[in-house]
């Protein structure tokens, strides 16, 4: 059992959980993830390790409620326990002095790039954190990201904060203006990562995307998380999660992620009312 030490809703439907997991915190490296089971009957779900504190023995996850398993997780409170956590899993991200590194992120990815930005900056890179959200009230981690980035650029779909559009638009604009980006790393939904890859491909900028297919064991045994990269079958859990965004078969990834959509809806449909006291604590209006 792993205790939830702290929990808050950092943006509507986006929850930050700090969980006591000393063994994971001790070994975690940027770009890795952990597989979590809320209870003993629950689905195994991979979540990116957003941050960790080796001394306190805690890890930080950013979780969006988008189905039955994440629903169960975000309904837990500080002091509650999750049944199982396995990690750190996946190949750590290559951290070197590349020059200028652009980190493109959306949704849970905004939390996920926090440790990457810190590590890339420590390695001597110029770090641009380019974060996107639908609207101004969906941005979070502003101060945290600003502290570990050379530049924090926010975009919104509705134009209510920063540039109107997506992080891919910002990257494309920079490249068109002749700015040098030596590496681009995209974390978010496949749609957002695909757009980022499409934006950098004509300029030949190496772009990595953190793939999030349906995953079961996380150790390369079951093959549920297979993805096609450069026409080769790869397992996102042991060969990834980071792959060359220009070589990923995105259409297959979308299809595979939707394979159980009917079952997923049925699972959510059978949920019962949430006791009023169990509701996630409210984010205070800024």
């Amino acid at each position: 059992m792993f205790e939830i030490c702290a929990k808050r809703e950092v943006a509507p439907n986006v929850h930050e959980l700090v969980i006591r997991a000393p063994a994971i915190a001790r070994k975690a490296r940027p770009g890795q993830f952990a597989i979590l089971m809320v209870d003993d009957k629950s689905e195994r779900v991979p979540y990116t390790l957003c941050d960790w504190d080796r001394e306190a023995g805690t890890i930080t996850l950013v979780v969006q409620e988008v189905g039955q398993s994440s629903r169960k997780l975000v309904l837990l409170k500080a002091g509650d326990h999750v049944a199982h956590l396995a990690g750190p899993l996946g190949v750590p991200l290559e951290i070197e002095a590349f020059g200028t590194v652009a980190l493109a992120a959306g949704c849970y990815g905004i939390g996920a790039i926090l440790n990457i930005a810190r590590a890339m900056k420590a390695a001597g890179n110029r770090v641009l954190s380019i974060v996107e959200a639908d609207s101004h009230y969906l941005h979070y981690y502003r101060a945290e990201l600003a502290a570990v980035s050379d530049e924090l650029i926010q975009t919104t779909t509705d134009g209510s904060q920063g540039a109107k559009g997506h992080s891919a638009d910002v990257i494309k604009h920079k490249l068109e203006r002749g700015e040098q980006l030596h590496r681009v790393i995209a974390v978010g939904c496949p749609f957002m990562m695909m757009l980022t890859g499409n934006a950098t491909k004509p300029f030949g900028v190496k772009t990595l995307a953190a793939l999030n297919p349906i995953m079961l064991d996380g150790t390369g045994m079951c093959g549920a998380c297979r993805v096609t990269v450069s026409s080769q079958t790869q397992f996102a859990c042991v060969d990834g999660p980071y792959f060359d965004a220009h070589e990923i078969d995105w259409a297959e990834l979308f299809d595979r992620k939707a394979a159980y959509s009917d079952e997923e809806i049925q699972a959510v449909a059978r949920t019962e009312a949430v006791a009023a006291r169990q509701q996630p604590q409210q984010r205070r209006p800024a």
Partner: protein, 537 residues
């Protein structure tokens, strides 16, 4: 009366609004707070028009059509005005997806909304496929907002049975408040607070249950946004099939429309007559009961000490072989009157002609839907079509065949279990509390290989080499009985008892406790019968 709308001379009806007249003549006027089953309200101002001789821009929904009126519904000034009004609405409604320049590609690659907690845009909205606000924004080509949007940051309300509320999406059109008042005479919900703090809610911060909500679900049916949602149905998106049928969960026999998904699974049901509410069972119980995890999906035959799934021919052959020694008075068939006329006709014929037994037992459920019965003396083999008989008596039988929709303690000790289709999965004729014929129409597929009761018993009779059971359809059985015209009970003067007070709802269907299968019912205030049981009555 004659009036002119957009240069067309039209005939108006007495008491009709300008909007109603225009819509009746297929002239599209954007509108939002108006609903066909509600009186005019004039809240949203989307339906503004220009009328000669009238000042400003009157709301066409609240302006009676009059002789000689000259109306314009689509001028540059009106389009600007409507766009501004909708922009104001969208400032308080998560609308980023409507303004996104990647909409087309996004829709193509991820057509289904993510099953989110609080909705923050169309891509996480349960109402995405049928949203009236979204349709209007597209019609009016809204691509930007004049000022940044405001998010109310209200908590997702999901502590009441059956209904989820995300009031961050609410546009305060008041349809829910008005339908509640129109259908029940007294509204459980109302506008609470003032100015920008106005929201829909119950007095004194109570929950829906505490405020005496009747859970008829009509507020959900009229909501133009995703604010009010049926917790069970919300993520299925737009249904692909709509079938008008009769709810047989009680004698009121309300006419309901059952929505089925692309997989032909029942997703939602709602009343057809929007003037009279239906009860919590008709509105919320049907899909959850039909899609329950415990549904019997395949025939099972006891092999050794365990029930094993087999194909239909093997199961029927097993029943035929085992029943043969019990032909005569040792056999009984037990059903209740929630079965269709066709089912009961076939049951009777089978009992009398094939099994040559007088013991056809048809139970009349009590007012709570509970059907219990003993078995006639000397009966050693029985076919039960529901959970009707005490377990002790069942265990004393030499042969037990269960033909039912859910596994029960009785089916666990049966020799053969046959999966039956029920409710909206079957067609046929039903007799309501007023002894009128009501049609049942198949709205969705049964689980697995389950079949309608009449069909199972007919196939069983054929397997036992009986003649005259080769019916083509339920309609062929109906023709043999001479069933007359069955009509849906759409019009009704009175509100069904359980619709005005959910404690009058039935607790059982076909011997099964509904609250065991439908989660929300466990949370509702107790019924009269369970209250009696609690005090040992």
């Amino acid at each position: 009366m004659r009036l002119t709308i957009d240069n067309h001379t039209l005939r108006g009806c007495d008491g009709e609004s300008v909007l109603q007249c225009a819509l009746r003549h297929n002239i599209r006027v954007p509108h939002l707070c108006t609903h066909p089953s509600l009186p005019a309200f004039g809240a949203c101002r989307m339906c503004v028009v220009e009328i000669d001789g009238m000042r400003g821009f009157p709301a066409s929904c609240a302006t009676p059509a009059a002789e000689g009126m000259v109306v314009r519904t689509d001028t540059a000034a009106l389009r600007d005005l409507r766009r501004s009004i909708l922009e104001l609405i969208l400032i308080e409604h998560p609308s980023a997806c409507l303004l996104c320049d990647k909409q087309v590609l996004c829709e193509e690659l991820r057509p289904h909304a993510a099953k989110a907690g609080r909705t923050t845009g169309c891509h996480t909205c349960n109402n995405k496929d049928v949203c009236e606000v979204r349709d209007l924004a597209r019609d009016l080509h809204i691509s930007a907002l004049p000022v940044p949007p405001v998010y109310r940051d209200l908590p997702l309300e999901r502590s009441d049975p059956f209904i989820d509320r995300d009031l961050n999406l609410c546009i305060l059109c008041g349809r829910c408040v008005r339908i509640c008042k129109a259908q029940h005479g007294r509204s459980t919900i109302d506008f609470i607070g003032r100015g920008s703090h106005t929201h829909i809610g119950e007095a004194f911060g109570r929950s829906l249950t505490e405020a005496g909500c009747r859970f008829c679900g009509s507020c959900i049916d009229v909501c133009p946004t995703g604010s009010l949602a049926d917790r069970y149905a919300k993520w299925y998106g737009a249904a692909s099939r709509f079938t008008a049928t009769t709810c047989i969960l009680c004698d009121a026999a309300c006419a309901v429309t059952v929505h089925a998904s692309a997989q032909r699974r029942a997703v939602m049901a709602h009343g057809i007559n929007t003037r009279v509410p239906i009860c919590v069972l008709g509105r919320f119980a049907i899909p959850e009961f039909l899609n329950g995890a415990g549904r019997l999906k395949a025939p099972q035959v006891r092999i050794g000490d365990r029930l094993r799934e087999v194909a239909w021919p093997q199961a029927l052959a097993a029943v035929a072989e085992r029943l043969t020694p019990f032909v005569g008075n040792a056999f009984a068939l037990v059903c209740d009157s929630t079965s269709t006329l066709e089912d009961r006709h076939v049951f009777q014929r089978f009992t009398r002609e094939v099994m040559q037994s007088p013991h056809y037992v048809e139970i009349q459920p009590d007012e709570h839907g509970v059907s219990r019965s003993g078995l006639p003396g000397g009966v050693r083999a029985a076919l039960l079509t529901g959970d009707f008989v005490d377990l002790e008596r069942v265990q004393a039988l030499e042969l037990l065949i269960v033909q039912d929709c859910y596994a029960t303690p009785a089916s666990e000790c049966a020799t053969v279990v046959l999966p039956a289709a029920v409710l909206a999965e079957v067609g046929g004729t039903w007799v309501d509390g007023e002894s009128r014929m009501r049609p049942l129409r198949r709205a969705c597929d049964p689980p697995g290989v389950a079949k309608p009761d009449w069909q199972i018993v007919c196939e069983l009779a054929v397997a036992m080499a009986a003649a005259g059971f080769a019916y083509e359809s339920a309609a062929a059985v109906a023709a043999e009985i001479g069933v007359g015209n069955a009509a849906l009970r759409i019009k009704r003067a009175d509100t069904p008892l359980a619709a005005s007070d959910p404690t009058n709802r039935r607790t059982h269907f076909r011997g099964h406790c509904l609250a065991e299968k439908v989660g929300g019912l466990r949370q509702l205030p107790a019924t009269a019968s369970s209250a009696l049981a609690a005090v040992g009555g």
